[in-house]
């Protein structure tokens, strides 16, 4: 019984490992920040799915198409800027707005200096994060000054 049990568990384990390896092959993307991405050699970029994190939307740069569906916008990591075009189907999350922190998946086109995002996730600003109090205060101050 003991050997049978071992054989049984080995089969289960092998099946699971096979599934995991196949799964990783099919749906992996490389996670980078903006400064790393622009330095990558072309061979590592072409056709590779990239997950880009650590950037925020530059305020005022979101240009929507006529139905407010697929925007073009600028992102920044504080020092660098880059243009992003959204090409996905899903309606962008409600949290996508100026200064939103983004995690995007898509492809980088170095020759056009542009990132084509198929998936855009805007960090749940909640609640948990993003509502930095100082930012909020300064934003309010600007609002009052411009009288809007």
């Amino acid at each position: 019984m003991r050997t049978k049990l071992l054989v049984g568990s080995a089969i289960v384990a092998l099946g699971v490992i096979a599934l995991m390896i196949l799964g990783v092959r099919q749906s992996s993307s490389r996670h980078v920040t903006l400064d790393v991405m622009v330095e990558l050699p072309a061979a590592e970029i072409s056709g590779r799915r990239i997950q880009l994190a650590g950037c925020t939307v530059v305020p005022g740069t979101i240009e929507w198409d006529e139905y407010r569906h697929r925007p073009v916008f600028q992102i920044t990591d504080g020092t660098r800027h880059m243009q992003v075009r959204y090409t996905g189907n899903a309606v962008l999350p409600d949290t996508f707005q100026d200064r939103a922190q983004l995690v995007m998946e898509g492809r980088f086109l170095p020759d056009q200096d542009r990132f084509e995002a198929e998936v855009v996730m805007a960090k749940c600003p909640s609640k948990y994060e993003g509502q930095n109090y100082d930012d909020h205060r300064s934003a309010q101050a600007v609002e009052t000054v411009t009288g809007s």
Binding site: V24, S29, H31, V32, Y67, D94, M121, K123, E129
Partner: protein, 670 residues
């Protein structure tokens, strides 16, 4: 009130420390007074945390914006019932909330077991009070929710609009209660090891306390899915985000434990395995919390990176080291009384169920941590997305589904060839019928065919079990079938309640399978124009815009027809919250028995008044919600004390064995 809250927190810290000390010293010296004192200190921790939480709530309700936490998480314009949720809306408050709920669980454990499990209680109290102590430390030193600003702002920044939703007010507390509640079974496990009381007594205590957080966690997960579905507007309910995974993993571990515990109770096997599984379940709750608060994996909704993560690492290391050392010392006491005799036995089916659940857990863990591993080993941070999780979890889910139905059909020890035929005949027939029905309906997706046919199999197996139980009762009594069914459910809550949970799982799987057939379309319509999607036709009738103090609303009205028959006028909306400068989509969902018509208003063009819509047709999604409801109800039914349990508890109280203290080995007292 704010100062009182902070002061109560400091006192809770002291009382928690004292409770651990008194309980352990008391049990060491066989001193009953000290043990009681430790329990009372644990109750004091509960009271003090309550005062502290009320203090923060008071500050939130009175909009005391000088308190930084209040300023960051509420605003004047927020409706009162969402203000309530601000307590757990931010990092520091959520840790206070965590400590508070933990102290409530601790208090309940102490009060309910004044006369029960006496030799286990001192250790259990020490573990629980120790955990409360940890959260008090965290609150006082790393995440103080009562910090004041040097000035008093006019208004706070408020809670994000999309979180201002009823589901979002209930979902986090449910998840928290589930995660936190796992501490109680863990405490009983440690206590059983420490007191060397490793018979079935602690197992019963542990199992009941495990069912409660397991139900909470499951309900929290499902409710989170429902919220995502109606509020986020991407047509789905589960995205395999690290934060979602962090709460799924302990649930999977606990599910495995709930099943394998039965083998230990009945056959005295798997003792070490169950203990490890229990520690692992608890460890996963802490690890998951660490994952979401340390920022080591990027998630859509992780908390801010903060020093809280470091505290959790220390806590986790202490738990792992302490638990494993204790377990190693007690290994000789955990010898199995029986061995597996045959593959075709209920034991084997449960064991396989455990393996698959854990394999699924590890696959989810692997996918979640893949970026961390790949960066450590190759220097490249690689992430895996939803397709990975789906590809891995679907086959394993199907095996689990099969076992859900097959487990109860196997006999203990060994299933005879005859018994096999007798038990598997009906469910196999059900499986065949559902397979043919589904195939006849035009389904060709291999996973969907397998899943739905297995759902038929499990359904057949549950019906067979009920049928046999009812028939057996009716042979000895003159009950009607309905009464007999009720008596079964009321008398053997664990068994038949458990089967109802299995039915809930079947419904959930039917709902999940629906994803294989969902379609999505994008259409642009001018006013009066129609579009046809599948059997449905929508006609864009009109567009209205409005405006109030807090938000601007644009709403589109569309007539929905199905095969030429008018169903409803759908009104999807877009809201623009002026203060947060944020857009939200209010989707419009028309639910029919078999599918949902899910309509999103993407936006309208200013010049010609045309509008763009996105449409998802989600077949079978309703089964997920019905399955969720049944899951919660049947879990509650299962854990509710039966008449026999209540009688036992009364006997315990009356015989009051609290005096039999002298030695910690003086027998469990139930």
């Amino acid at each position: 009130m704010v100062d009182i809250g902070y002061f109560a927190l400091c006192l809770a810290l002291a009382a928690g420390g004292y409770s651990v000390f008194a309980s352990l010293l008391g049990v060491h010296r066989h001193h009953e007074g000290l043990i009681r004192s430790g329990e009372n200190a644990a109750l004091a921790v509960c009271a003090l945390f309550t005062v502290s939480a009320l203090g923060l709530w008071y500050a939130i309700f009175t909009k005391d914006f000088q308190v930084q936490y209040v300023a960051e998480n509420t605003s004047l314009a927020m409706p009162a019932h969402y203000v309530l949720a601000s307590l757990w809306g931010g990092q520091n408050g959520s840790i206070l909330f965590w400590g508070w709920v933990l102290s409530l669980f601790t208090g309940a454990t102490v009060l309910l077991n004044r006369h029960r499990y006496r030799s286990l209680m001192p250790y259990a109290v020490a573990v629980l009070a120790g955990s409360c102590f940890f959260f008090a430390v965290l609150n006082v030193f790393a995440a103080d929710p009562f910090v004041r600003l040097s000035f008093t702002p006019q208004d706070g920044s408020g809670l994000n609009p999309i979180l201002q939703h009823p589901y979002m007010a209930i979902h986090p507390p449910l998840l928290y209660a589930g995660m936190i509640g796992m501490t109680v079974p863990y405490a009983f496990g440690i206590a059983a090891l420490a007191a060397r009381q490793l018979d079935n007594t602690w197992l019963r205590a542990m199992r009941r306390w495990l069912l409660i957080p397991w139900t909470f966690l499951g309900a929290g997960l499902l409710l989170g899915g429902k919220w995502a579905y109606v509020e986020l507007g991407w047509g789905g309910y589960w995205g395999w985000d690290p934060v979602e995974n962090a709460s799924l993993m302990p649930w999977l571990a606990a599910t495995a434990l709930l099943h394998s515990v039965m083998i230990q109770e009945r056959k005295g096997m798997l003792k070490v395995w169950n203990m490890v599984l229990l520690f692992f379940t608890f460890g996963m709750t802490i690890f998951g919390t660490f994952l979401t608060r340390s920022g080591i994996v990027s998630s859509v909704h992780a908390f801010a990176q903060s020093s809280v993560g470091d505290y959790f690492v220390v806590y986790l290391i202490l738990i792992v080291l302490g638990s494993s050392l204790l377990l190693l010392r007690r290994l000789p006491d955990l010898k199995a009384e029986n061995h597996l005799e045959s593959f075709a036995s209920r034991e084997s089916a449960f064991l396989l169920n455990n393996w698959i659940l854990l394999a699924l857990l590890f696959a989810v863990l692997w996918g979640t941590l893949f970026p961390v591993f790949s960066e450590a080993f190759t220097g490249e941070k690689i992430t895996v997305g939803a397709p990975f999780f789906n590809q891995v979890s679907i086959p394993m889910g199907l095996v689990l589904l099969f076992l859900t139905g097959a487990g109860p059909l196997f006999a203990w020890r060994r299933t005879s060839r005859e018994g096999f035929r007798r038990n598997f005949g009906v469910p196999a027939l059900w499986a065949a019928i559902s397979l043919m029905a589904v195939a006849a309906a035009g389904v060709r997706d291999i996973y969907a065919l397998m899943s739905l046919s297995l759902c038929g199999f499990v359904g057949g197996s549950v019906v067979l079990e009920f049928w046999r139980g009812i028939a057996a009762r009716r042979r000895t009594t003159d009950e009607s079938a309905l009464v007999a069914c009720y008596t079964l459910l009321a008398k053997s809550r664990r068994r038949y309640g458990g089967y109802l949970v299995h039915v809930a799982m079947v419904l959930l799987f039917v709902g999940f399978t629906g994803n294989a057939f969902s379609t999505d379309r994008e259409v642009v319509l001018h006013r009066g124009q129609s579009a046809t999607i599948g059997d449905y036709t929508i006609t864009f009738e009109t567009l209205a815009v409005g405006d109030d103090d807090t938000k601007a609303v644009s709403a589109a009205a569309l007539a929905l027809e199905h095969e030429g028959r008018f169903l409803a006028t759908l009104v999807p909306e877009r809201h623009f919250y002026k203060r947060a400068e944020q857009n939200t989509t209010e989707v419009s969902i028309y639910s029919r028995w078999f599918e949902d018509f899910y309509l999103i208003f993407v936006g309208s063009a200013d010049d010609d008044g045309s509008a763009k819509f996105q449409i998802y047709i989600n077949p079978l999604v309703g089964c997920v919600w019905w399955g969720s409801v049944l899951f919660v109800l049947s879990s509650l039914w299962t854990m509710w004390p039966s008449a026999r349990d209540r009688r036992m508890a009364r006997l315990d109280r009356e015989s009051s064995p609290a005096e039999s203290w002298d030695t910690p080995l003086s027998g469990a007292t139930s």
